[in-house]
């Protein structure tokens, strides 16, 4: 092997040889003690200014031809690049030094930053360049698969929609599990994060364990996402433009019934209804039984609803322009971005966004720095008619135009509405303005001590207008509504950061103290009217007749104190202790203040003497942490004070509005949900920094879950929100990056993130059964011992077949069925009793599993279908060859179930009644004895059809593929550009899943997810 590498090395050098002298030598890396030299295999050696180069062999040796006055450039991933003049020598040996900038980047930790190697807590730093490959409208979607433990779920593909993010699974059963977003140190919302321009993002860190989260106290139990935006830098100004144009298209993994198949379905459903075996005996006219449909059938001009409803391709484009620059005293970054996405739906669907951001740092004095971060965003979203999805259910035998070619409101004799006509007469638009002003002053009165005063104001105003004109089907006249939503936040922070000077440099201590006040306001005002005199939109609302009005106004405050100490000894032993105390206006009178302590310990094993001889280990760190954090999301602003409800009344001719206490008893002891998390992990870098990764285990116990306690109505109250429930969440996160090839021409790296998470409900409230065990609440799908997010239902095991019955004929040809015995009730080893069911079953009905084996189908036979996935995986690879770069990203979700409405719900055509169209399934007929779906039934719902709609939600997707080309810098210099790269990206090209839908995560009426192809350019000068 050694010989082969040497030979290859020599051959490569020979093939790329120039003239003059033959230079040989060795490339070494510094040993752990910084003295000894270790040979570095695979390092790149290049003659500067030429394409001549080679790589070192297994002994770190190289041989290359170069001009005697030339310069050799030595480089290797994870090490600082070194240039050596040959100066006529024939032997050049070099020692490469580890590049801390690469291997030990500085990461944000909240209220400060630190070297990654010094972290004792669990913080994932996202590779933002990989993240930005995906051309999405929201940064949230870009985060998918980029960090272990972070799960991104899209419930809609509508332009401008914001996916939900959970970090390390669910913990709460009634409150949201949304993480806390912090952008440039300011508390933000998922909306603000989603609309941030990707080009503005410098770094994203995810705080995953309680020790890292505890500094954010009562809002941090669902994890924290820290975003840092780009800032100005001194030196030459840099202008960069990133933009792309793309096309979206629809894709699906199912078929609709065509006209012939639809009639067959209808016929089969009617045959089943009428007790007929052979559906072909049902006359066609009976099967259609609709004059309009019959007419269309005769004409042969069927309707392709999907084609009518969707564009074949929908364009979208994004443009981001930024300028960075500054001097030693003033640095600034300014950017502007514009994103425009047409919806796939033909009518009233699209999204536009305009962003602007400016970050300025002004070093007024050596001890005083002022800063200003501002951002502005405007979004406009056209929202499709809410009933657009009815196209799924509409029969191809439909008449959608009148004799003049105009669309008609109803498509058949049954008066089924025409979804295109409805969409034409429905207008829904949402406009929002977001403004963030953040100013800060940093005082450094003496070395190591920084006091920062931070003030931030955020305001978001969203206007939601919706109107339907007088032609809207079943509308009863023109209607309009408008609602304004205002969200604002003021944050005041005093932050002290002190690197305590200790004479013995083996000891390092950093202290952070924070005091903050956070004020949030949310208000809405809205009006709805009928009968606008002319068919105009909501701007003419004042001319209509008022039907409803709405006003909400709600505020909350949070006052916090936080202290954190980060200590290290000899860079080997790391301790991080934090304590936060939050006072929230949402908490009950007796529990206003919450305490959130944490501790984290880490041991950098690789710094120990006994590890020095383990050459293949570059760094190894063991860490563990424990902390307590809270979740106040489940408590509305005034719940603990007791709410009143309006009670209108009439006295004589006068109308009065009074108020009565609500039926919910205020709980003065109500407090945050509390999560205690133990975390243990190992960070490693191996094989000359070629392989690095993290493996972590966590176990979270969440107590005081908010549950509504039922009260005796005689008290005058029927319920009280209380801290009663408990859950457990545990799992593992694993990420691994392998830099497989690193040469002058070739670079190849592979990254993988794997997250495994499970959770279970320990108790819901104080109620216990006769044996003292906590009781479940099946009505809420809360089962003690089962995961938090579940379906609880019967389990289908196929379709009843003729073989399951004795089939009798009564002489007149009519068949009756008797289930064959399947249970041995008298213990003689012979089945003597059939399964008992409340309903009557016959061949073609849904067959259920008798889970408890008692011979009866009862509610005890319901089973748990876990909704959350067991595991998410992502695998991405970066490959560069000379000026070409290639990126590919696979994403997989394993485990979990989804209840697919397309397979059971009549609203989405899944009921197999034949009254509506739907997605094609292999249903049972007397002549097609399948087990996939039961026999269609026209008149009534198929019993237990829903149990056949639970599908394994696992999927594997080729999420993105990108091919780029960067132009040579010497060419670009001629046109005064410093960088020019063009690329093509395709998304969602392949998906492997059992879930029949437009997307494995987007169900039912939700807007379908698109497949995208974009062409883009990165340009810098």
């Amino acid at each position: 092997m050694k010989r082969i590498i040497t030979l290859l090395s020599v051959l490569m050098c020979v093939t790329m040889s120039a003239q003059n002298v033959q230079v040989t030598g060795h490339v070494y890396e510094m040993d752990a003690d910084g003295i000894a030299k270790l040979p570095l295999t695979g390092a790149s050696v290049q003659v500067k200014g030429t394409r001549t180069g080679c790589v070192t062999d297994i002994d770190g040796q190289f041989s290359i031809q170069a001009q005697s006055d030339g310069t050799l450039v030595f480089s290797f991933f994870g090490f600082k690049t070194v240039e050596k003049k040959i100066a006529g020598r024939s032997v050049v040996d070099v020692v490469l030094e580890s590049d801390v900038q690469v291997l030990d980047e500085v990461v944000a930790v909240g209220y400060g930053s630190m070297r990654k190697s010094d972290l004792a807590t669990s913080i994932s730093s996202v590779n933002t360049s990989d993240m930005k490959v995906f051309p999405a409208s929201s940064a949230s979607e870009m985060l998918r698969g980029r960090a272990a433990g972070v799960t991104v779920t899209s419930s809609s593909g509508r332009p401008g929609s914001v996916p939900s993010i959970t970090i390390r699974g669910s913990r709460s059963i009634s409150a949201s599990n949304t993480p806390l977003y912090v952008i440039d140190g300011c508390i933000a919302s998922d909306t603000e994060f989603a609309m941030i321009s990707s080009n503005d993002i410098e770094s994203v860190e995810v705080l995953k364990d309680a020790a890292s989260q505890a500094i954010y106290g009562a809002r941090a139990s669902d994890g924290v996402i820290l975003v840092t935006t780009k800032r100005g830098k001194s030196g030459d100004s840099e202008v960069s433009y990133n933009g792309y144009v793309g096309l979206q298209s629809l894709h699906r993994n199912f078929e609709f019934y065509n006209a012939r198949e639809y009639i067959e379905l209808r016929r089969e459903a009617m045959a089943n209804d009428l007790g007929v075996i052979d559906a072909k005996t049902i006359p066609l006219v009976t099967a259609i039984s609709d004059e309009v449909m019959a007419g269309v059938y005769k004409s042969g001009e069927y309707v392709d609803w999907e084609d009518l409803m969707f564009k074949s391709v929908a364009p979208y484009h994004n443009h981001e322009l930024s300028v960075r620059g500054g001097t030693d005293r003033i640095k600034a970054m300014a950017s502007v971005g514009y994103f425009n996405q047409d919806g796939l739906i033909k009518l009233s669907s699209g999204y536009e966004r305009l962003n602007a951001r400016m970050n300025v740092d002004f070093q007024v004095k050596k001890w005083l720095k002022l800063g200003l971060n501002t951002s502005f965003g405007f979004t406009k979203r056209e929202i499709e008619n809410g009933a657009y999805y009815q196209f799924i259910t509409r029969s191809p035998l439909a008449d959608i135009y009148d004799e003049n070619g105009a669309l008609v409101p109803y498509i058949n004799s049954n008066k089924d509405t025409n979804p295109i006509y409805s969409a034409l007469h429905d207008f829904h638009e949402e406009r929002a303005n977001n403004t963030r002003l953040n100013a800060f002053a940093e005082l450094t009165p003496f070395k190591g001590f920084v006091y920062k005063f931070n003030v931030s104001y955020y305001n978001r105003v969203r206007e939601d207008g919706h109107s339907r004109d007088s032609h809207y089907p079943n509308g009863g006249g023109s209607t309009a509504s408008i609602t304004n939503y205002t969200t604002s936040n003021v944050l005041l922070e005093n932050v002290v950061n002190y690197n305590v000077p200790i004479r013995d440099t083996d000891h390092k201590l950093n202290l952070t103290l924070v005091q903050s006040v956070d004020h949030n306001l949310y208000k809405t005002i809205g009006y709805s009217v009928n009968n606008i005199p002319v068919d105009k939109d909501w701007d003419y609302l004042a001319n209509g007749e008022l039907t409803a009005k709405e006003r909400r106004y709600t505020e909350n405050n949070l006052v916090s104190f936080m202290a954190r100490a980060q200590y290290s000894y000899k860079d080997r032993y790391l301790v991080n202790v934090a304590y936060r105390r939050d006072g929230s206006s949402r908490f009950g009178m007796n529990t206003k203040w919450g305490n959130f302590p944490s501790i984290a310990l880490a041991w950098r094993l690789s710094q120990e003497d006994f590890m020095k001889n383990v050459k293949w280990v570059n760094s190894l760190k063991l860490r563990t942490s424990f902390g307590i954090v809270g979740n106040q999301n489940g408590i509305d602003n005034y719940t603990t004070l007791g709410l009143v409800k309006p009670m209108p009344g009439e006295f004589g001719d006068s109308y009065y509005l009074g108020y009565l206490p609500s039926t919910e008893l205020p709980n003065k002891n109500l407090r945050w949900e509390q999560s205690s998390t133990f975390n243990a992990g190992v960070d490693f870098t191996l094989f000359s920094n070629k392989l690095n990764g993290t493996l972590e285990y966590y176990n979270t116990r969440t107590t005081d879950l908010l549950v509504s306690r039922t009260l005796n109505a005689a008290l005058g109250y029927t319920s009280m929100l209380d801290n009663l429930g408990e859950t457990r969440t545990q799992g593992m996160d694993f990420n691994l990056t392998a830099n497989l090839i690193s040469t002058r021409d070739w670079n190849w790296s592979v990254s993988a993130n794997i997250s495994h998470s499970t959770n279970r409900i320990v108790k819901i409230d104080d109620s216990v059964d006769a044996e003292g065990r906590p009781m479940s609440q099946p009505g809420n799908n809360w089962i003690v011992g089962a995961p938090i997010n579940i379906y609880y239902d019967y389990q289908a095991v196929g379709v009843y077949q003729y073989d399951d019955f004795y089939v009798y004929s009564d002489g007149s040809g009519r068949l009756s069925y008797e289930l064959r015995p399947a249970y041995d009730t008298d213990g003689d080893g012979v089945a003597d009793a059939p399964l008992q069911r409340e309903d009557t079953v016959e061949p073609g009905c849904v067959k259920l599993r008798d889970v408890n084996g008692d011979g009866k189908i009862t509610s005890d036979d319901r089973v748990v279908y876990k909704r959350d996935p067991d595991m998410t995986l992502s695998l991405s690879t970066n490959l560069t060859w000379r000026n070409f770069d290639f990126y590919m990203d696979w994403y997989a979700v394993a485990g979990g179930y989804v209840l697919n409405p397309l397979l059971y719900n009549g609203e989405y055509g899944g009921d197999l009644k034949g009254k509506n169209n739907g997605i094609k399934v292999d249903y049972w007929t007397p002549y097609n004895a399948t087990n996939v779906a039961p026999r269609p039934l026209f008149s009534s719902d198929i019993p237990y059809l829903k149990t056949m709609a639970y599908q394994d939600a696992s999927y594997l997707r080729l999420r993105s593929v990108q091919l780029g080309y960067t132009f040579d810098s010497h060419l670009l210099q001629k046109i005064r550009l410093s960088k020019l790269r063009v690329y093509c990206t395709a998304t969602n090209l392949l998906t492997f899943t059992q879930v029949l839908s437009y997307s494995p995560e987007v169900m039912g009426s939700a807007y379908p997810e698109a497949r995208q192809v974009v062409l883009g350019v990165n340009l810098t000068f």
């Binding site: 003729y802 087990n931 039934l937 008149s939 594997l956």
Partner: protein, 364 residues
């Protein structure tokens, strides 16, 4: 090699997401069908047991025997049906078997039951119990659920009505099923436009091709629609008709609504011969019996209910007169092959008369 491992990992995930389809079962062509004798129509519950279930007095027992003899022949060749409506259902909410037993003791072989859409939709246990008991007493039950005016204008509505019944039948055991539907499409009571563009007019609406004729044509079409659908599932269709249709046809004032036309779209008709005397009833019934071309397709329905003018009901004549009327109608009817039997509108009123302790309830 590492690359292969990663691909294998994702391949594993893909495999995890795929479950094996269960094998197909046998088709109808491949199974063994066990032929057995038809048991429908057999009396499973004896008269003695029915008497206990019916909870009737000795007097009622005697009156029931008299009534049964009046409407039935010795060899039980007639099909006699009685209308049962919601008022009766609510009276027997907890004991449908008792109602069924009482009806059987009066000698009826069929019930026109008005079940209501929600009972059908919900596969109401009351219905199941009532029909099961009726089956065990060899009584057929027909759903009176084809009567909505919307049936005239909407095929979807017509279809929905039929489907409600067939859907119910689908969900229950054979003995709990309806034997058919009893339609009550009465074009002659359409006095305002229901969407057809014309109404029944007793003064100016007659004439071949005129509005009354058109309404009858639509009625026959709606019945044909239901008849075809029901026969596919082995169910029968009865229609309640006005006695005057045939007479007006005989007079040349109508071309639609003859008994033969109804015979082609129904299994039999129930002639609403609502008069308060035996001769009066016979007089309006006989033209239809004469017109019948098939056997047992015309039932004479007499009325005991008091929901209309007194001249339309035999209630006020008393129990004994009713027995006499029924006996006479039976004997006259039997002279016609088209005569099917004597129907009654309604059971509720009949039961009240049955419970009277004297002839005309004068003691009350």
């Amino acid at each position: 090699m590492k690359r292969m491992d990663l691909i294998s990992l994702f391949g594993l995930v893909a495999l995890m997401s795929c479950t094996r389809d269960l094998p197909h079962g046998s088709t109808i062509d491949q199974i063994e069908i066990i032929h057995r004798e038809q048991t429908q129509g057999e009396v499973v519950i004896s008269d003695e047991k029915a008497l206990v279930t019916a909870e009737i007095t000795e007097l009622m027992k005697t009156k029931a025997a008299d009534f049964a003899a009046a409407i039935q022949t010795a060899d039980k060749t007639l099909d006699n049906n009685v209308y049962v409506y919601a008022a009766t259902l609510s009276k027997y909410t907890d004991n449908p078997e008792k109602l069924a037993a009482r009806i059987s003791l009066l000698g009826y072989t069929g019930v026109y039951l008005s079940p209501g859409g929600s009972r059908l939709q919900n596969v109401d246990p009351w219905l199941r119990r009532f029909i099961a008991y009726c089956s065990d007493r060899a009584i057929k039950v027909y759903a009176t659920y084809y009567e909505d005016f919307e049936v005239f204008t909407s095929e979807a509505k017509a279809s929905e009505c039929i489907s409600k019944v067939t859907g119910y039948n689908k969900a229950v055991k054979p003995g709990e099923r309806f034997a058919g539907m009893a339609a009550d499409l009465e074009p002659h009571i359409i006095k305002s436009d229901i969407g057809l563009g014309y109404v029944w007019n007793s003064d100016t609406g007659y004439g071949v091709g005129k509005q009354n004729d058109k309404l009858l044509e639509v009625t026959l079409d709606r019945l044909s629609f239901a008849h075809g659908r029901l026969h596919l599932s082995g169910l029968q269709l009865q229609e309640a008709i006005w006695w005057n249709y045939q007479i007006k046809n005989n007079e040349g004032k109508l071309s639609k609504g003859t008994i033969p036309q109804f015979e082609s779209v129904c299994d039999w008709v129930c002639l609403m011969s609502y008069r308060n005397s035996t001769d009066g009833i016979w007089e309006i019934s006989e033209p239809s019996l004469k017109a019948a071309t098939k056997e047992k397709t015309v039932s004479i329905c007499v009325k005991t209910a008091t929901n209309d003018e007194a001249v339309t009901t035999i209630w006020y004549n008393g129990w004994n007169a009713m027995i006499s009327t029924m006996t006479t109608l039976k004997s006259r009817g039997l002279e016609y092959s088209g005569f099917r039997g004597l129907d009654m509108f309604t059971y509720d009123a009949l039961e009240q008369m049955w419970e009277w302790t004297d002839d005309k309830n004068q003691r009350q």
